[in-house]
């Protein structure tokens, strides 16, 4: 039996504080998990998006471009028709948007491919746990942590493990890291932090739900469901678009020929 040090019994405040700190720690874990889940979903959707844009998005962009050209052709033939002109403008805007979406993604394509390794997930979770901006006091400290968190997100999304490790290392060596919640943390501060973390978790849950309910996530869900049934839905979609593209191409060709003949 070791001898119990003769300490005065903890005050009710001290007991409450230690209870709150335990609660906060649990919540911080939950928060880091949410951050990881959200970042992971973003990565998965990103990977899926690259794939779907390369198969289906590409064809939509092609179709949109052809249709815009056809609409412009028709508007030019009957300049007095305001509706045709409006339709042509809409078609052009849409074609441009599809083109932009495709180009934006192709630029990002090289950065990432394949699934997220477990080591990266672990590292990200560590970073999120350590530097989360909601744990800071004072606007300057919050801003600093926000900046770091954004950098961590980017590193995670692009799969840059080195960058993520560097962020963590820099943070741990910085003076802010020492200003944790230690002996100086009073009960009031702990309660405030708990409220903030809870709020943040709720916000992240909302973001997760939004992302999951988004068009891209739903599209991915359908593709995965079809895959389980042995169907390649993206290929089917591409095949469904092919005849429309072909049709538009033929129509456009015919319009060109008409134009030539009348010229």
């Amino acid at each position: 039996m070791t001898e119990e040090p003769d300490l005065p019994p903890p005050t009710p405040e001290e007991r409450e504080l230690s209870r709150k700190l335990g609660e906060l720690s649990t919540l911080e874990d939950a928060l880091a998990s949410r951050e990881l889940a959200l970042a992971s979903l973003e990565v998965e959707l990103h990977i899926f998006e690259v794939h779907y844009l390369a198969t289906v998005g590409k064809r939509y962009a092609e179709l949109d471009a052809l249709e815009a050209e056809i609409a412009e052709f028709e508007a030019a033939r009957r300049p007095e028709d305001a509706e045709l002109l409006e339709r042509a403008e809409e078609a052009r805007v849409r074609a441009q948007e599809s083109e932009d979406a495709l180009r934006a993604r192709s630029a990002a394509t090289e950065k990432r491919a394949g699934a997220v390794p477990e080591s990266l997930r672990k590292l990200f979770r560590q970073v999120a746990r350590a530097i989360h901006p909601d744990l800071a006091e004072g606007s300057e400290a919050v801003a600093k942590r926000q900046e770091l968190m954004a950098a961590a997100n980017r590193a995670y999304v692009t799969g840059d493990e080195q960058q993520l490790a560097a962020i963590l290392k820099d943070w741990e060596e910085s003076p802010e890291a020492i200003v944790g919640h230690g002996a100086a943390v009073d009960l009031l501060r702990a309660i405030r932090q708990i409220a903030r973390v809870e709020e943040r978790i709720a916000a992240l849950d909302l973001q997760l739900a939004e992302l999951q309910g988004g068009d891209l996530a739903q599209l991915r869900a359908r593709v995965e469901k079809a895959e389980a049934d042995g169907r390649d839905l993206l290929a089917e979609m591409a095949a469904a678009l092919e005849p429309r593209i072909e049709q538009a191409r033929v129509l456009l060709e015919a319009l060109f020929r008409e134009e030539e003949a009348s010229a």
């Binding site: 779907y52 962009a61 948007e97 934006a104 973001q207 891209l216 079809a226 839905l233």
Partner: protein, 366 residues
């Protein structure tokens, strides 16, 4: 693409990353709509081949048909049932054991609401497709095998035949038999109304049952309402198991074959109007049990003992395509009205749905 309306502290962290999930131009929304559409629509594979296999029969499938709207498949089997299947899912939706004997043939009426079946119990019966309730009956149990039955496009006239050397014509509504058309030799094995309903094509014949006997077969074209035989051949060397009209009604098809014989199959095409023989082939090394003339072209779909569905071009006398999947003889095949799908059934007790290759003309008009 951040959300400028909600500049909360919590969201700032991700503000720079949110573009990830949001594609420009509503592209994802449109893709999602297309994906959803494709998922709820029946699969139309771009490549020819087997689409679906319907399992459940416990004996040979002898007859298959597609409902006019393409939603249902109908099969008749020696397992004493005829069944209806949902084409999109392969689910069996109706099973009828009313014949109490082998069912040799089953067809849909043109409105798809009635099923007409013929069985070894000696009867031809009409049923409500929805409920399977019997609505009419011809022949009597014990009259011998009924091999085939056909329903005129207007749904009024039933033609059927079996062991006796004649085709029986009845009014579906009254049940009255109004004519018998005598064929040179029985049994009557195949019957088809022309697309306009004015003509009836019959195939018949049998194999020699005694030593020294002669196999024979006949093909006849009838005006079923006058009973006149417009033309025919009585010199087929083997029973005629399959007859068909082209979708435009201008060409008639018949083929011979017998399951247990390995003789050369003979496939013939006639001009309906004149009875002129257009083509005659002996090219197939296996008996053909079912044949159809595909729409939008002149190609034939032939099903036979070789387990294959072959698409045959009679002009060039070449096989254009073959569909493999059945593991035993194919006894029945039917083509969808648009010519894109075929249904087949046979000895392996399965029914299979196939995507047919686009015919050259269909491809051109697209």
């Amino acid at each position: 693409m951040s959300d400028p309306e909600q500049p909360q502290t919590g969201d700032l962290v991700r503000a720079g990353d949110r573009t990830l999930a949001v594609s420009g131009g509503g592209l994802a929304a449109r893709a999602l709509a297309l994906a959803t559409d494709l998922l709820v629509r029946p699969v139309v594979p771009p490549q020819p081949g087997e689409v679906r296999c319907f399992r459940g029969h416990r004996d040979c499938v002898m007859s298959v048909a597609l409902s006019p709207d393409g939603r249902f498949a109908l099969s008749a089997s020696w397992d004493q049932t005829w069944r209806i299947w949902e084409v999109d899912t392969g689910r069996e939706v109706l099973r009828n054991e009313g014949h109490g004997h082998r069912v040799s043939s089953a067809v849909f009426s043109h409105d798809g609401l009635t099923v007409l079946s013929a069985g070894w119990d000696g009867t031809v019966r009409a049923w409500e497709r929805e409920t399977g309730a019997e609505t009419a009956r011809f022949g009597a149990p014990g009259d011998g095998i009924v091999h085939c039955a056909a329903l005129s496009p207007d749904g009024r006239t039933v033609a059927w035949g079996g062991g006796d050397p004649y085709v029986v014509l009845c009014d579906l509504a009254t049940g009255e038999e109004f004519r018998r058309c005598e064929v040179p030799v029985g049994p009557v094995r195949a019957l088809r109304f022309s697309p306009d309903g004015r003509l009836l094509l019959s195939g018949s014949g049998q194999v020699a049952l005694t030593a020294g006997g002669r196999d024979n077969g006949t093909v006849c074209l009838w005006d079923p309402y006058s009973g006149d035989r417009l033309w025919g051949i009585a010199d087929a060397t083997e029973p005629v198991l399959s007859v068909a009209f082209s979708p435009d009604g201008a060409t008639a098809f018949a083929s011979t074959g017998w399951p247990s014989r390995g003789r050369l199959n003979i496939t013939r095409l006639w001009e309906v109007e004149s009875g002129r023989l257009l083509h005659r082939y002996e090219a197939h090394r296996h008996p053909v049990f079912s044949g159809s003339i595909l729409p939008a072209g002149h190609n034939l779909l032939l099903a036979g003992r070789d387990r294959l569905l072959r698409i045959w071009d009679p002009q060039t006398e070449e096989e254009v395509h073959r569909l493999e999947g059945h593991t035993d003889a194919v006894y029945a095949a039917a083509v969808s009205p648009d010519g894109r799908f075929a249904l087949s059934g046979g000895s392996d007790q399965t029914i299979r749905l196939w995507r047919l290759p686009d015919t050259p003309r269909a491809a051109r008009t697209r």
